[in-house]
Structures are given as C-alpha cells and as structure tokens.
C-alpha cells in the first residue's frame, strides 16, 4: 500500500467521528437518489407485469380510431353491435365487449360514498372470458340487474361484505345493489389505488348512461392465427372510424401511459434528491476544509520531509474518495430501505402503490457511485488544493492560516459565478425557451451557480452579520459573558461561518421560494375567483372527473337558481398542437363568468359554427371577430369555426370556448365536468340551500360548493402540495443541520485549549454548553435569514416569470417565513447539543495541556 493511501486511511481512522458525520451527509443524499430510482424502477416493473398479465390472453383490440395523444378527453365509444361484426371475422375465437366508467360510485353501509385519495373509481363490465383481467376470488360474478362485484382490497377497507346491499350512484342517482362477489386484478389486489367495480354490461351502460355503446372489444385469436393477420382481417371488416390493434400494442400503450406518470413522479423525487446532494456538497467541503486546516502542521511536516504538493493533494483527495465510496455503497443499501419506506408512506397516505420488488439496475449503481464519489471529490478539490499549498515552514511556525490570502480571488471568482448564474436564470426564466430540458438546465444550473457564488461572497459580510445578529446575546439575563463570547466566536472565522450557514441558506431559500410562489398563486386565484367567477354555486367532481349531464336539469328545476351553466372540457388540435377547450351555454356565459368581452357578443354566437377566443390567442394568431379558425375534433375531424367574440379572463375557461351545440355536434360524450349556477334575484336562500343539499345527498360523489368553499378547497389542496414539497426540502435542512453539528464539533476540537482555559478560570459546564449552542444559533440565524432573503428574490423572479394567466401578483407570506427562520435557528441550537456536551465534558487539565 502506497504511503499516500496509507496516510489517507490513517487520517480517516484518526478522525472517525467527524468522518462518519460527513459520510452520513453524503449518504443521505445518495440514498435519496437511489430511493427515487429504486422506487421508480420497482413501480415500472410492477405495473408492466400487471398490464402484461391483464392482457395476456388478448390478441387484438378493436376501438375507435384516434390519432390524438391525449386520451382521457378524446376517447370515443363504439357501437356495441360491432361485437357481432368482430365475431364473424375469420380466425376470431372470442370477442368480448368492454366498457369502463368513472362516473359510478358505490356507497358504504353508513351512507358515505367510497372515496379515494386521487385514483379513480373504475367500473367495468364483468365477463367470464379469459380476456377479462379481473378474476373472482369470492362469491359470484354479477349475472343480472342490481348486482355488483368489487375488488377485495376495497371491500376489506370499506367494510363491504358479500351478500350485503349497498347503494350505487349512477347516471340516474342512487339505487340499491347487491354485492355478489369480490375480485382481483391480475395478481394485485388493487391498481394504483383505484377502486375496481364490476357490473353486467347492460347494468354498466345504464349506470353510465351509455346504452348501446362500448369502449373496446377484446379479441382472442383461434389457434394458429397470428395477431398481425387477425388485425388485418379485422380492419378489413370494420368501419373506417374503428381500428384494430394487436394485444402487444395495447400492452405497450398501457405501459407507456403508466411509465410516463411514474417517470414524472420519479423525476420529481430525483429533483429533491439532487437538492439534498447539493447541500451535502457544502457540508463535505466545509468539513474537509476544517479537518485539513487542523492538520496544517502535519501537512507542513510532510512537505519538509519531501512530500511533493501533488502527494499532499492526492492524500487529501484519496480521503475524499474513500468517504465517497463508502457513502455510495452504504447509500445503495440505505436507498433501497428508503424506497420501501417511501412506498409504504405513500400507500398509507392513500396513493395505493402496489408492492414492489427491488430492481437494482446498473444505472442506479452507477449513478449512486458517480454522485457519491463525484460530489465528495468535487467538494474536496478546493480544500485539497489548499492543503497542497501549505508550505513546509507551516510545521515550524504556528499561526499559518489555512487557505490564507484567497479572499480577493474568492470574491472575484464568486462575483463571476454569480453573474453567470444570474444570466443563466434570466435566460431560463425570461428567454422564452420552449425546450423543457434546456429551460430546467438554465434555471436550475443558474440557481446552483448563484448559490455557489453566494457561499463564496458570504465571507465578505458573515462576520459583521454574525456580530450584529448576536448582539442581543450580550443582554441575555444571566448569560452575558457566554453570550458575549458566543457572538465573538460566531464572528471569528468569516469563511467558516459563511460556509456553515450556506447549507441552511440553500434549504431555506428553496422553501421560502416555494412558499412565496404558492402564496402568490393563491392570491392570484383568489383575485381571479372574485373578479371572474360570478356564479354563486359550483358543482364539480373533486378529482376533476366528469358526471352525467342529467344533473343540470335537476339544478334548473330549483326555483332559487337563475342561470345554470354546465361546463365541459375537451381537447382539440389546432395547428398540429393539441389544446384544451371548454364548452358551455354561450347565452349564459357572461352571467356566470365576468370574462371581460372585448369584441363581439358571446350570447349572439351560441351556435355550432362559432368559437370565442381570448385576446392573447387572438393576438398570437392574428384573429379578429368573423375570422375562420380551423379546429380538429377527435370525433368529427377538421371543422372550420368562426371567431364570434374575444374575451380577456381565461380563468377556468381557457383560451377557446364553444357553445354546447358545437360540442354536441363534434363530441360523443354528453358528460359535464362542472356546473356553475347563480342565485335568482330575491331567491329564498334557505329553500334553495335545502334543495341543493338534497341533490348533494343524491350525488355524494360531487362537490356542491359556494364560491368561497370552492376557493378554500383549492387553496387547501395547494397548501397540502406545499407541505409535501417542504417536507421533501426538509431533507436538505436535515443535512444542513448535520453540517452545523459537524462544524461545531470540529470547532470544539480546535478550541480545546481555549475551552480548558475558560473552564480553569471558572466557566461552568452549563456555561460552556450554552456558549457552543449560542454560537451555533447565531450561525443558523445568519444562514436562515440569508436563505429567506434569497428565497424571496427567487420567488419574486418566479412569480414574474410565470405567465400572468396563472400568477399575476406577488404575495409575501410573512408569518410562515418568520416561523421558518425561528424553526431553523432553534434547530441549529439543537444540532449543537452534541458538540456542546462534549465541550462541557472536557477534562480541564488535559485540555490545557493540549495544543
């Protein structure tokens, strides 16, 4: 073993505890990265298997032809009679009609409808054919009217028993059904948290309101007939607007649909993981820097004895390499555990994730090691460089300052990086980049540079800041002297204070930014709701699903309601791009929404041939009232509509609105996505409330809300999202706190003699402890404040950059920000407890003898 490696190993062994803390910081970051991969891969693997097994017997599928990428809003049913056509095709062994609905809700014995936390309630038609992925595990299959089967997982959870009678809410409202059996999907009890319910085809169509229509036909081939051949024959027999695809294609599409969603989820996790890794980089750099600076005399001795500066640098880098490798390997194991933990937590929160197998792909291992080793090495580059430049005389004279004389260079470099980062962020946010990846690289890369630059510039003001922030400590009752000294210590080493605070700064900056953006979004939506939505009642499905249009009629019948306007949401293709649109009753539109019409009159173009567009769209496309707009519908293909009016406020409605008559002419579905209604002038509030409440009872799956309730629910959802984001960012804070623990522990070591002296002249253990804690508190407060300031700036930039249609105002949530700073400072005090205890336990004589 070479002397360089030997020295590195011994040095690591000699400062085990510090190294362990550093390793832990790297390990946390690596584990998070690994967990996001393992969870994503595991889920992909599981869903792939589920979908494959579910379609194992399907050789071909017949369905409506569509070239739209978006499927949920463009799906069209086909005629049930096609089943006969398919069965008659040569080579077809079996053909099973299939339909599914998300509009039917079973009700528990206690009268509460079954709810999920995000996944839909999927209703299928039961068939005993092997083409059906559902298998019966208990009882019987639904064989006639009034019978249903539900998946075992849901039955267990919701307390449904076979043989029991439960209400089911369908298109026509509540009616009693009997639970005749329990089912399972493939090998899984559940499908991504979805609730699976089965009826006979006739019952399902009636409950869904789609009599005579089905969504697809699953086809099994006779032995010896290749799927390709089968598809060809089917295509020949079917009408033009119906297509046949092989089972393989169906599986692939299903897997793609899931993988897209899972990948997005995985990438978000990965993003948080990278934030954690980034923060740990600063912790590592700081720790190595302190460790090496404490070894200055040894470094000088080595140089005096003939070690080249390269050898000294190599020795420092090898130390980092070992730490990185150990952290990566441990991180791989820890990451797997974390993945399972995350899955369990999300499952418990109702996201209904299936059990996963450990999928440890080569990519995961490579990335884990690359991140662990790369980050540690990168972080130790500068400390190692400093170590290499320690002159031999450093071993002979005390007072050599590690990394001395870098101030000016660091400032210049920091300024350069800061400018570069700001430009990157500027280009990303305001450069009009369409490419998502490029945009992310610009913004995230820019932010990273800005953070690095700040950490380099912070030493310029860290000492006076710490002194200023610590000033109140001088007046702490009974702790004046410790307060005074803690303040001095926090201000003593400007570089160290700055780099210790940096980790906390990054974490808090991101949290503050997320909070500012969320608060601004809330404020914008609140203002939009107030100014745009003039309706008094809003009916919607809490998960954004559709519901039967019969409800409009029932609401219309309530005398206290004046306008009742349904909203339907669809997708069309304009100029090759799929874009959302809204259909509503144009004659009522201006009564329920204040859309600020600039030109034309929506009510006068309530016919199938017109579309109204926002002013932005009109400007972009050079449209005026009376101009033609070519729109492609999934069902009816290319249609030319005439622009009938131009409006400004796109809240809820979006850029294109057509009349219900135009919808009916071009879209198969008759379902509504939302209903807005206004109170009639002089309506009896109590009577109207009661009538609406009665309807709400019949449709417990729908939300009947006043405008304020609608807004509060929206804000509540936003708040939950913010909590989740902040919890994930909290990991970065934990790592930053580890850094504070580490730095304080190293400082205590460095000041052993000093602490011994103070103990000798009468400082109590208590005072010693509070001295260390208060210093950490001051440093944390500095980092937290800096972070919040940076976060405010980032948040403000984000708010300016986000299109006005989403966020049009800046709102500063003062209370949460203050609370974050207080919490971070308190956490810093706690993080210093361990080093504080160590300092207090030092033996006075030993401590003085050292140095």
């Amino acid at each position: 073993m070479g002397i360089v490696l030997r020295l590195s190993m011994r040095n690591l062994a000699a400062s085990r505890l510090r190294v362990a803390l550093t390793t832990f910081a790297v390990l946390l970051g690596v584990s998070f990265v690994v967990a996001s991969f393992v969870l994503t891969d595991g889920l992909l693997d599981t869903f792939d298997t589920i979908i494959e097994e579910a379609n194992a017997e399907v050789d071909a599928e017949v369905r409506a032809r569509s070239d739209f990428d978006e499927v949920q809003f463009t799906a069209r049913p086909i005629d049930e009679a096609l089943v006969g056509v398919v069965r008659a095709v040569d080579g077809v062994a079996a053909a099973e009609p299939a339909t599914q609905s998300m509009k039917i809700v079973p009700v528990r014995a206690d009268g509460e409808p079954i709810r999920t936390t995000g996944a839909p309630i999927l209703s299928f038609n039961w068939s005993d054919s092997p083409l059906d992925p559902l298998t019966l595990v208990e009882g019987q299959a639904p064989a006639g009217p009034g019978q249903f089967v539900i998946d075992q997982g849901t039955a267990d959870r919701e307390g449904l028993v076979v043989g029991g009678t439960y209400d089911v809410i369908g298109a026509a409202g509540r009616e009693p059904f009997q639970l005749v059996g329990l089912s399972r999907f493939g090998d899984a009890n559940s499908l991504g948290g979805a609730i699976l319910v089965s009826y006979t085809l006739d019952e399902l169509q009636r409950l869904d309101g789609s009599e005579g229509l089905i969504q697809w036909i699953a086809v099994g081939a006779e032995a010896g007939v290749e799927p390709d051949v089968l598809v060809e024959r089917l295509e020949a027999a079917l009408p033009d607007d119906v297509e046949a695809v092989t089972g393989e294609v169906v599986v692939q599409e299903g897997q793609d649909a899931f993988s897209g969603f899972i990948r997005i989820f995985g990438n978000i996790l990965l993003g948080f993981a990278l934030v954690a890794v980034f923060v740990s980089t600063f912790i590592i750099a700081n720790t190595f820097n302190i460790l090496l600076s404490q070894r200055v005399r040894q470094l000088g001795l080595l140089r005096a004895l003939g070690a080249s500066s390269r050898q000294v640098r190599a020795s420092a880098l090898v130390e980092a390499l070992i730490v990185g490798l150990v952290a990566s390997v441990l991180g791989l194991g820890f990451g797997v555990l974390l993945a399972f933990g995350l899955r369990a937590i999300m499952d418990a929160l109702g996201f209904g994730l299936p059990a996963i197998d450990v999928v440890m792909s080569a990519r995961t291992v490579v990335v884990a090691v690359a991140v662990g080793v790369g980050v540690t090495l990168a972080a130790s580059l500068i400390p190692a460089r400093r170590a290499a430049s320690v002159p031999p005389v450093a071993t002979l004279r005390s007072g050599y300052r590690f990394g001395a004389g870098e101030g000016a260079r660091r400032t210049t470099f920091g300024l350069g990086l800061g400018v570069l980062g700001a430009v990157g962020m500027g280009v990303g946010l305001f450069g009009g980049i369409d490419e998502t990846v490029l945009l992310l690289v610009c913004v995230a890369g820019g932010a990273v540079l800005v953070f690095v630059a700040l950490s380099m510039l912070a030493p310029l003001f860290s000492s006076p800041s710490a002194a200023a922030l610590g000033a109140p400590l001088e007046h702490l009752p009974g702790r004046r002297i410790t307060g005074h000294m803690a303040r001095g210590n926090a201000a003593r080493n400007n570089v160290r204070t700055a780099s210790t605070a940096t980790g906390l700064m990054i974490g808090l900056a991101l949290i503050a930014m997320a909070t500012v953006v969320a608060d601004s979004l809330k404020a914008s939506v609140r203002a939009e709701l107030r100014s745009t939505l003039t309706a008094d009642l809003v009916v919607s499905q809490s998960f954004g699903g559709n519901f039967s249009s019969e409800l409009v009629g029932e609401l219309d019948a309530i005398p206290g309601l004046a306008q009742v306007a349904p909203l339907r949401f669809g997708v069309v293709r304009i100029d090759g791009t799929e874009t959302g649109f809204t259909a509503t009753d144009l004659t009522q539109l201006t009564e329920v929404f204040d859309i600020d019409v600039r030109e034309g009159d929506p009510a006068s173009v309530a016919d199938p041939g017109h579309v109204i567009v926002t002013r932005d769209t009109a400007t972009d496309r050079g449209l005026g009232v009376g101009d033609p707009l070519t729109v492609e519908f999934a069902a009816t293909g290319v249609q030319t509509l005439t622009v009938g009016a131009i409006y400004t406020n796109d809240f809820i409605l979006g850029d294109y609105v057509i009349d219900l008559s135009a919808w009916d002419a071009n879209v198969d579905s008759r379902d509504d996505g939302m209903i807005v209604a206004t109170l009639a002038p002089g309506a009896e509030i109590a009577a109207t409330d009661a009538a609406v409440a009665a309807l709400a009872d019949t449709f417990p799956n729908l939300e009947f809300e006043t405008r304020d309730e609608f807004r509060e629910r929206f804000e509540g959802e936003l708040d939950s999202l913010l909590v989740i984001i902040n919890v994930f960012l909290g990991l970065a804070i934990v790592i930053a706190l580890l850094g504070i623990t580490n730095t304080m522990a190293l400082s205590v070591l460095e000041r052993t003699r000093e602490i011994g002296l103070m103990r000798a002249v009468g400082m109590t253990r208590r005072q010693t402890r509070s001295l260390i804690r208060l210093e950490a508190g001051v440093v944390s407060l500095f980092g937290a404040l800096l972070g919040v300031v940076v976060g405010l700036v980032f948040g403000w930039l984000a708010v300016v950059a986000i299109p006005e249609s989403a966020i049009d105002r800046l709102s500063l949530p003062v209370a949460p920000l203050v609370w974050y700073v207080v919490a971070a400072t308190a956490a810093g005090l706690v993080a210093a407890s361990f080093p504080a205890r160590r300092a207090a336990r030092l033996d006075v004589l030993d401590a003085i003898a050292q140095g």
């Binding site: 001795l301 005096a304 002159p391 005389v393």
Partner: protein, 259 residues
Amino acid sequence: MAEPTTTDRATAPGLSLERPWAARAVGLAKVYGQGNTRVVALDRVDVGFEAARLTAIMGPSGSGKSTLLHCMAGLDQPTEGQVWIGDTLISDLNDRKLTLLRRQRLGFVFQAFNLVPTLTAAENIDLPLLLAGREPDAEWRSQVVESLRLGDRLHHQPDELSGGQQQRVAVARALINRPDIVFADEPTGNLDTGSSHEVLACLRSAVDDWHQTVAMVTHDPGAAAHADLVLFLRDGRLVGRLEQPTATLVLDRLKELEG
C-alpha cells in the same frame, strides 16, 4: 573580538575549498514585514557547514538562528542571497525540485511535532523513502535503528513513545536516506536532561561513526558542547565561532554577546 569567522572562506564561493561544504550561503538575508513592522531576521550572512561535522548555531532569542536554518534547508525563501546544498544552488530550484532535494539529500529534526501521529515509529522512519516510492536499504536501516536503540519501539504509535524516544525516531528518519546534511532545529528544546543527552549522543555518533553532517540550532550551551564547532548569531549577523566547545566556554561567549 579576535576570533576568525567562517565568513572569510564563504565570501569566495568560487575558490577552491580547504574542506568540502555540505551547505553554504552567501549574502543570505531575510526580511519580514514592511515599513514600521519591518524586521530584519538575517542581515546578509555568509555561512557554511562543513561536511562530516556537527555544527551548532547559537544566539539570543530573535538573533535569526532558526531563520538561518530554515533558509539553508530550503524550507523558507530568503529575501536575498544564495544557498548551496553541496554544489546545488537551491535558490534557483522550483518547488518540485526543491521537494526532491529535501526528500533525497536532506534530513530534518524539529523541536516539536516531529512525527506524523497516525503513522507508527517504523513508518515515520521510512517516511522520506516511502514518499519517494523507494525501498529502504535494509542494512543501513537496521544499523540506524539499532544505534538509536529503537528496535522494540518500531510498531508503536508516536503517542505511545516518550519524548526522547519520539525525538530518536525523528533522528532515525533524518538519517534514513543518508542525507548530505541533517538540519536540527532545537532538537532538545522539549526534552528533559536525560532524553536530551540521548538525542545529542545519537547526533554525535551519526557524525563520528557514519560521517554524517549535522547543523543544529540550540539555545542550550550543554547541547552546543556536543558540537565540533559553534557559530554565534546576533541581530541577524554572524558574530563569532568556537571550535571544540565546552558548555562553560559557550556560556561565557553567550554572556559576552548579551552583555
């Protein structure tokens, strides 16, 4: 002062030499700070250390004796002047070459913090060779270890050794590469009388038995008495020399200097 000094010979470095110099310097100056804080540690000193002799450097605190040693050893950059190790002019060497020179041709013994605490005694002894990636000469190594009576201490960590033992390990390390010259900076400064004597005896026998060259800074007349020659420094200047010193003679001379 009627004593002749070494400066006579050192002022003419190009001339043939009566005795080979292991190290010498011409016009060596070292100035710290600027303006009001300017301190002249060495004031254009000409000096040489003869091969196979033990030369002691003495002087009051602040006389520049340690600075002289550091500059001669290439540990510190002189402000002015030239330094030779053997025939090599080290003032011209870059950091890499200087490092190689230290590794191959110089040995060091310092007052304190002499050993790498994470390495064993044996590893510390071999350190210069290990750094150079060379194998120790087994015979020489065992001679050195035996002569310094370290045989049973080789696998101990420095903190398991007494001060005297630590310093003997340092001497062994300084000798391991048979250097042109060993620079010892107050090698007994931190030791009790007994340990001091051990260490000095080691240095003495290195010169007598192996013809090694040692230059030693010390403030202890007793230590200086082990030398063949004592050079006296005051205010950054060489002010005297004493051949075949004894502790008493050295003390007298020091009193003269300080008085």
